[in-house]
């Protein structure tokens, strides 16, 4: 791999031990993928997770004196002060989140604590070279904006933030952004929830190829595209997708396939979506709570829930996880008041896969997100998966049927 003088000096330790560790990892990555050189990145996002490996790695770099050249936005851990008001947080968990916040502050991150930075704080232009981790972020950056990122891990994105570089390979190169498999959607995709199921159904049939969707609506909402990307990267590993007539590198089918023929054509039927829905949901019955915001809800989604619960009473507790900016807007616009009057709440800076939800372990909830249901298996949380309207109806009855 060809390094510039400055990059070689980073590798040799001239910019300190922390930068050296980061560059070493990136050179190793570049060698695996046969990258000829490094390229500068202008934006980064680190999928902070507040888990052991995350804290271990960021503290190791901080202790070695690392500082970010390109300040990354970061994912949420949990909102300690909020959860201390509604439940008991163990000393150990309190210490971990405090250390995580401190370490990311010390390394020079921008402390957004949200998983949808691509909607409001870290928005790239077409063609921009970036390093985004977070499974709903990577496909949004590549597919919806036409900016470029590989499917970075939290750690490799942090290395890119520190060195300001990323190895040139994969989805940074024109030829690898080409569509490979034509996905003919014969199912009736009509709301944001259908994109969750579509995203979950496709990877098994795809086998690591880049999908090009046809026969989808041409005016999907931002939430629909967010859901599609998030689920494609829960059930599988799909850093980029094209939707003909919607995403910028797929104005036409020829454009999406860069003039080549599709390697394969797969069809997704309504039965495929129904089958995947039946597979991933836990059994219906009494529920204890409703949880939304995996990925974080945007303002329109919050408004939708507020409208549905307006003037009504929820039988079980309901939370919506959002960014602090969305929560602030929801407060200004009265959505928070409406939600709280019905018995719900908005919590910012928080992910569902965090120990702050311990009071819900062993219980059953309802959510619109397969991703939420998948990762919380380890925390022994059960989820019935339904579209938002049905979730709210269930939360008002305390039961899903």
């Amino acid at each position: 791999m060809q390094l510039t003088v400055e990059e070689q000096e980073m590798l040799d330790g001239k910019y300190g031990k922390g930068t050296q560790i980061a560059m070493k990892i990136q050179v190793a990555l570049g060698e695996v993928f046969d990258a000829p050189k490094m390229v500068p990145v202008s934006r980064t996002h680190v999928a902070l997770s507040n888990q052991e490996a995350d804290l271990w790695f960021v503290e190791k770099l901080v202790n070695a004196g690392a500082k970010c050249r390109v300040s990354p936005t970061v994912n949420p851990g949990f909102n300690l002060e909020y959860f201390q008001c509604i439940t008991t947080i163990s000393k150990e968990d309190e210490q971990t989140i405090r250390r995580t916040r401190q370490a990311y502050k010390d390394i020079g991150a921008t402390l957004t604590f949200d998983c949808t930075p691509y909607l409001e704080k870290n928005v790239p232009r077409f063609g921009e070279i970036t390093a985004f981790s977070e499974s709903s972020a990577t496909p949004f950056i590549n597919s919806v904006y036409g900016a470029r990122t590989n499917r970075e891990s939290a750690q490799s994105a942090l290395c890119a933030a520190i060195t300001g570089r990323t190895p040139l390979y994969g989805f940074l190169l024109d030829e690898n952004r080409k569509g490979q498999v034509l996905v003919d959607v014969q199912a009736d995709v009509k709301n944001d929830f259908d994109y969750q199921l579509l995203g979950y159904a496709v990877p098994k049939k795809l086998q690591f190829k880049t999908p090009v969707f046809v026969n989808l609506p041409t005016t999907p909402s931002p939430a629909a595209l967010m859901n599609l990307g998030a689920q494609l990267n829960t059930a599988g590993n799909v850093p980029m997708y094209h939707i003909v007539g919607v995403t910028p590198e797929a104005r036409t089918i020829e454009d999406a396939f860069q003039g080549d023929e599709p390697e394969r054509i797969i069809t997704i039927t309504q039965e495929d979506l129904d089958q995947v829905h039946a597979e991933i949901t836990d059994p219906v019955g009494k529920i204890d709570f409703a949880l939304f915001g995996c990925p974080h809800f945007n303002l329109n989604q919050v408004a939708q829930v507020a409208e549905l619960v307006k003037g009504k009473k929820l039988e079980v507790k309901l939370w919506i996880m959002t960014s602090s900016l969305t929560k602030e807007l929801a407060t200004r616009m009265g959505y928070l008041e409406t939600l709280q009057a019905a018995g719900g709440d908005i919590v910012d800076d928080t992910c569902m896969d965090q120990p702050c939800w311990e009071f819900l372990y062993g219980k059953k909830g309802v959510t619109d997100s397969p991703k939420c249901a998948y990762y919380t298996k380890r925390r022994n949380m059960q989820f019935v998966i339904r579209k938002v309207e049905d979730c709210i109806e269930a939360a008002m009855r305390g039961e899903v049927s």
Binding site: L29, A53, R151
Partner: protein, 135 residues
């Protein structure tokens, strides 16, 4: 009698162990770190332990944080696999493996996949780029 195959280093290391094959993609977060047992619903290895195995699987899957977290916890409890043999390297799995010092190889010939069975004793030499089925 042993047979040797060429491969390509993803993450360094030399190790011997027993083979366990997964036909499904793999997410290390959905393994119980206390036992090494796969807890993912409907996964082909659900209920089996990956502890001390040389795990052969197509590709990593799952979010950009959980592979490293899952691997780290398994490393701490000593219930993780000894090495990985993969078909489709992705950035998340590769970066996690390098950081967690897990030996990993890819670009293995089809003849290896035709020959290898669960329980085979295998030597993985990522540094030299060789795989040897020992018995």
């Amino acid at each position: 009698m042993s047979e040797t195959y060429a491969c390509h280093k993803v993450s360094e290391g030399v190790i011997e162990g027993d083979v366990l094959i997964s036909t499904d993609d793999f997410c290390f977060y959905l393994v119980d770190p206390k036992t090494g047992v796969v807890i993912e619903k409907n996964h082909c290895l659900e209920g089996q332990s990956i502890a001390d195995k040389i795990l052969v699987f197509p590709s990593g899957k799952g979010s950009s944080v959980v592979q490293a977290d899952g691997m780290y916890q398994l490393k701490m409890t000593g219930k993780g696999p000894k090495a990985l043999i993969i078909k489709y390297p992705d950035t998340v799995l590769v970066a996690s493996s390098i950081i967690m010092e897990m030996p990993v190889v890819d670009r293995v010939p089809n003849s290896f996949y035709e020959q290898v069975k669960n329980g085979d004793k295998l030597r993985v030499d990522a540094d030299q780029g060789t795989l040897t089925i020992l018995s």
